[in-house]
């Protein structure tokens, strides 16, 4: 169960990003780097929203470069628009089981269970607008839980939350990936967030995504590109 970026190059006008690295099952990886370095682009390519200019994406050796986003082994949580505002909490979660929302009784129970897992028991009839920002992202996490994809990727879904709430959410995510054995990929600007729940870090800087390194030793002994970003 390995994800590989095999000689991947992404070009968009003047922007170029190369990635040639592998991530093993169950690893918890932070993607660290300055704004505009291509962290989001890397996850977009992995999730199938962007096609790389050259190179391949492999999942256990199978080429998934042109696979439809829904058929990829990944759930990607965005900063916003993770929920449809016109659907209820339960419907938004139910989409993770059946995209046409025709659920049977067992599946309805699974939705209720997922809601209680993220601490939102009894909130199934609410719409996103009636929930706080943190609660909305919990709903998205509940759906990710039911989708049972081997990779959970976070494109800064907690960036708008305060520090206490953010750590609460990160703990919830850590607990979920621990229980399911999923691989975690998390974009962050904050070294302390990387230290909080990840063990490895992929540095994305100066046009390249580098192979994962141990987070602690990387931050203790940062290479030049990382030093420039951290300002140390």
């Amino acid at each position: 169960m390995t994800i590989s970026f095999d000689n991947v190059t992404i070009k968009q006008g003047a922007f170029t990003l190369t990635a040639d690295l592998s991530i093993k099952k169950g690893q918890k990886i932070a993607l660290l780097g300055p704004s505009g370095s291509g962290k989001s682009t890397l996850l977009s390519v992995l999730a199938g929203f962007k096609t790389p200019t050259s190179g391949r994406i492999l999942w256990n050796g199978t080429d998934i470069t042109d696979t439809h986003p829904a058929k990829r082994p990944i759930t990607l949580l965005f900063q916003d628009h993770n929920l449809f505002p016109h659907l209820t909490t339960a419907q938004n979660i139910g989409l993770g089981i059946r995209p046409n929302l025709r659920l049977n009784n067992t599946e309805h129970e699974m939705v209720e269970y997922a809601l209680s897992r993220v601490g939102l028991k009894g909130q199934s009839k609410k719409r996103p607008a009636q929930l706080s920002g943190g609660e909305q992202q919990r709903v998205a996490i509940a759906r990710a839980l039911l989708r049972e994809k081997p990779i959970l990727a976070l494109d800064e879904p907690f960036v708008a939350l305060g520090p206490a709430l953010k750590h609460e959410m990160l703990d919830l995510v850590a607990e979920i990936v621990h229980n399911t054995g999923a691989t975690l990929l998390m974009i962050t600007h904050q070294p302390e967030d990387a230290l909080w729940i990840t063990d490895q870090t992929v540095l994305v800087a100066q046009g390249a995504a580098h192979a994962p390194k141990d987070t602690k030793s990387l931050l203790k002994n940062p290479p030049k590109a990382l030093r420039a970003y951290l300002g140390t």
């Binding site: 977009s44 199938g48 929203f49 439809h68 759930t75 628009h81 016109h86 995209p99 046409n100």
Partner: protein
């Protein structure tokens, strides 16, 4: 921000492609039909030249005057706070769905021989105004386009960030410096597009020319086409004129497409940016007097119809009721087809790459330049050998109405679909929501509002249209606007006013029902 470009589906290509093919057939295809029917040998006689000159002259005058009055009006609305400001801005949108023939009747009631203004002039000992001809056409066109121009320019004013006015106040800018530094650049970017749009609308406005124009000195090209088909049954002459009309419209539309910004039908009703200028006494007085005059100009005709029409509304002539039924049975199918076609076209555009999308979008908007009379003449020439065009009045009117309201519906629906795709396209794709499922769960609930608004607008436009139906209608066939026009032509002004009220009420009711239907869910 990384956006997800969803691949175009076969369904989208089929649906959008069909609409596109129909559009091209009806716009370009009819022009080709007209072109092959034209011999050009007989050339243009002096009265044709007069029609061309008059068409351009009245459109230039109408557009220039509308813009010239709209600039200070929009400025007054942007910088003055007063009670009723919101209502006035909202009502500025009303003439857009007001049937042209109703507006004409209102203008005759105020400016005509026995109207308010003429009474005033007579009391002063001067000749009353002659509303028929150049003056009347200009007045009616300003009545329609002054509000449109004011709204377009007001949007520009409201788009200037409030921080700029704050900075200007801090630096001690005077009113004229604010004008030079902030307002003039905005006006320069908005006015050319607004001018061309109004110019185009004045060239293709048939009902006004029909009711107020005519005769050798006030005939537009479209009116001349109508007369050639209707009175002389001279298809070749009609074809020559139709080619000329097409040439003028296309030329303007191409220029407009290059320089005009896309029209936006929504306008913010929020409080305007706080302003520190425009508080001098003479400025305030000027703004107030101007707004009062504009309000009088726009609302006096409407109020006078209301006053004149209420009594006759209770005893309308019998031919009104079948005409009402006919109009509704044109307006509703036309509106539904318009919205469906616009949605299919918008879905196709949203899924295409930027370059192709712009091209398809341009075709959708170029129909704005398609004269209903060119399309009508073309259909007439195409159908005449096989069918009796007069027997097909109903489907032909529906078809032409669809083409006429399509650009507006597309303008409303396309942004809604693109916004939805940008916001939720990735989510839908990652959850595996495809085709019907994605439409049912993720698109329909989110564009319902835009669809309701577009359908309501198209229904109101079709309901009030007095255009190509005049070309095809046999004597026993009449829509409500046509009945109203016939009453006016017979000088039954009271019955016409009653019919006008019925027409306006029905148009507004149709608009309201569809628009309301689109808003039924509160969770968007």
């Amino acid at each position: 921000m990384t956006q997800y470009q969803k691949p175009t589906t076969l369904f989208e290509i089929l649906m959008g492609g069909t609409v596109l093919a129909f559009l091209l057939l009806l716009t370009v295809g009819t022009v080709i039909a007209v072109g092959t029917a034209t011999s050009f040998q007989q050339g243009l006689n002096p009265s044709d030249w007069a029609a061309i000159r008059f068409t351009i002259l009245q459109a230039l005058t109408s557009a220039t005057l509308s813009i010239m009055i709209a600039i200070p009006t929009a400025r007054a609305l942007a910088r003055q706070q007063f009670r009723g400001r919101q209502i006035m801005i909202s009502l500025l949108g009303a003439p857009f769905i007001l049937p042209a023939i109703v507006a004409v009747l209102g203008i005759i009631a105020v400016w005509g021989r026995s109207g308010l203004i003429s009474d005033g002039l007579k009391a002063l000992g001067t000749e009353p105004l002659n509303i028929y001809g150049f003056t009347g056409i200009i007045l009616a066109h300003i009545f329609f386009n002054l509000p449109l121009a004011t709204r377009l320019i007001l949007q520009g004013w409201l788009a200037i960030p409030s921080e700029h006015f704050r900075l200007a106040a801090q630096l001690g800018f005077s009113t004229s410096e604010i004008n030079r530094r902030l307002e003039r650049p905005m006006l320069l970017s908005i006015i050319p597009g607004a001018f061309l749009l109004i110019f185009l609308l004045c060239i293709t406005s048939f009902a006004v020319a029909l009711a107020l124009g005519g005769g050798p000195r006030a005939t537009t090209v479209e009116l001349a086409i109508y007369q050639a088909i209707r009175f002389d049954f001279d298809l070749s002459k009609a074809a020559t004129l139709a080619i000329i009309q097409f040439g003028i419209c296309t030329l303007i539309a191409l220029v407009a497409l290059k320089i005009a910004r896309p029209m936006d039908f929504t306008i913010s009703l929020d409080q305007p940016a706080k302003r520190w200028d425009g508080h001098e006494r003479h400025t305030r007085t000027f703004d107030k007097v101007l707004l009062l005059l504009v309000a009088f100009f726009l609302f006096a005709p409407l109020i006078s119809i209301l006053l004149k029409g209420l009594q006759p509304l209770l005893s309308l002539p019998t031919q009104v009721w079948p005409a009402l039924w006919k109009s509704v049975s044109i307006a509703i199918p036309a509106a539904v087809i318009t919205t469906t076609s616009a949605t299919a076209l918008a879905a196709l555009i949203a899924s295409l790459s930027k370059h192709t999308a712009t091209a398809v979008e341009s075709v959708g908007f170029l129909t704005l330049a398609a004269s209903p009379f060119v399309i009508g003449t073309g259909l007439f020439i195409l159908l005449n050998p096989y069918f009796n065009p007069f027997a097909l009045a109903l489907p032909l009117t529906i078809t032409v109405n669809v083409i006429m309201s399509l650009p507006f519906a597309l303008r409303i629906i396309l942004p809604a679909i693109i916004r939805n795709q940008n916001d939720y396209g990735r989510l839908g794709a990652s959850l595996g929501m495809t085709g019907i499922t994605f439409f049912r769960l993720a698109i329909w609930p989110r564009i319902k509002r835009a669809l309701g608004f577009a359908t309501g607008l198209s229904a109101a436009l079709s309901m009030g249209d007095l255009g190509v139906v005049t070309l095809f209608a046999p004597p026993d066939f009449a829509t409500l606007p046509l009945t109203m026009y016939r009453l006016m032509a017979a000088y039954q002004m009271d019955a016409a006013a009653g019919t006008a009220l019925l027409l306006v009420a029905t148009s507004l009711a149709l608009f309201w029902i569809f628009d309301r239907g689109g808003r039924s869910d509160h969770f968007i």
